[in-house]
Symmetry: none
DNA sequence: CCCGACTGTTCCGTTTACGGAACGTAAGCG
DNA sequence: CGCTTACGTTCCGTAAACGGAACAGTCGGG
């Protein structure tokens, strides 16, 4: 586990909220040196420190700490996906994945059950995905949706690895 | 946050697995004194220590850090949202929320920073949301997207509560 | 009985995370 | 231009978390 990762996330969350390092340190009741070191990953923060900071940011620990292990991960030729959450509703079940697509390879996935749809939101890179005969393209920040009861493909456009979230919707039969 | 709670959970998890304190300490690469103090709540463990111990137990941090209910960031009258994950990319950070919208109320939320976009995928119910002057509508399985640097609204259409996932995208400055 | 191997706790010297103060820097204002 | 205010980083003495060793207690075998 990389403390630098935690640091970057804290900094990102702080800046999203428009808080300065000084004010967050004051609100959380920790020293500025502590917070600075935490964000830089040059310190090994204490549970108490982490708690104080995350409480001020209104963020659960989960959001800060990359999942350690035991997460179901699916590996394909180009795609690796880790299951984050499963939402069960009355008429459908949703599976939320964190997805990464390696560049230079095209992955072909078989058809799912009838009515299954996929929603992809691209975080970084450019993704071409969708039905094998008519794939769609989306850049970072973009969103794709298709009905995946036909064979479909995933591919990164260009040299950059694609990061995205994948939401699978399985209608109740 | 009570360190004693964390300690009791670690001890419980360790004993469930039939591990002795000594062996867990050795496996995790921490001192026995450290682990003993951690389980008793008489220490304020370091991120590194927690990581080492939980990794050996095969347990995500979440399981340790009491907050079964977490903290729903109650946006207000109609919407309750809980932060599930934060994704940090090079040009943007993403916050993924689980969202529920109560029927019969319309919620108005203030504008976010420039460039922030919201992606909503509806799981159940019918959602009307988006810029206050031009809201969009989506049924279960549908998807909405808008730029949220203007005031925006959330409302459930009909009597059914809306369940959805909300993805907030904050571009890097 | 002892003995060895094991349990978990306590002691202790070293390492280091802590917060306050001092620092360099940048932006706003007369 | 100063002067002020706020920013984030670095310095530093103190407090405490760290691992190793020594400790008492318990079990099972020769």
């Amino acid at each position: 586990m990389d403390p630098a990762v935690v640091g970057r996330r804290v900094r990102a969350l702080r800046e999203e909220r428009g808080l300065s390092l000084s004010t967050l340190a004051r609100l959380a009741g920790v020293g500025k040196a502590t917070l600075s070191g935490l964000e830089h990953g040059t310190r090994n923060p204490t549970l108490e420190t982490l708690w104080a900071v995350t409480a001020q940011l209104g963020v659960p620990f989960t959001a800060l700490l990359a999942e350690p292990t035991a997460e179901p991960t699916v590996h394909g030729t180009a795609v690796t996906a880790t299951l984050l959450e499963v939402f069960t509703e009355t008429d459908a079940t949703y599976e939320l994945y964190r997805m990464r697509v390696a560049p230079g390879v095209v992955q072909l996935s078989p058809a799912h059950a009838p009515g299954v749809t996929e929603h992809v939101t691209v975080f970084a890179g450019v993704l071409r995905a969708g039905p094998a005969d008519a794939p769609l393209t989306a850049p970072a920040g973009g969103h794709l949706r298709w009905v995946s009861d036909v064979p479909h493909t995933y591919a990164a456009v260009g040299d950059e690895e694609v990061a995205a979230s994948l939401l699978l919707r399985y209608p109740r039969r």
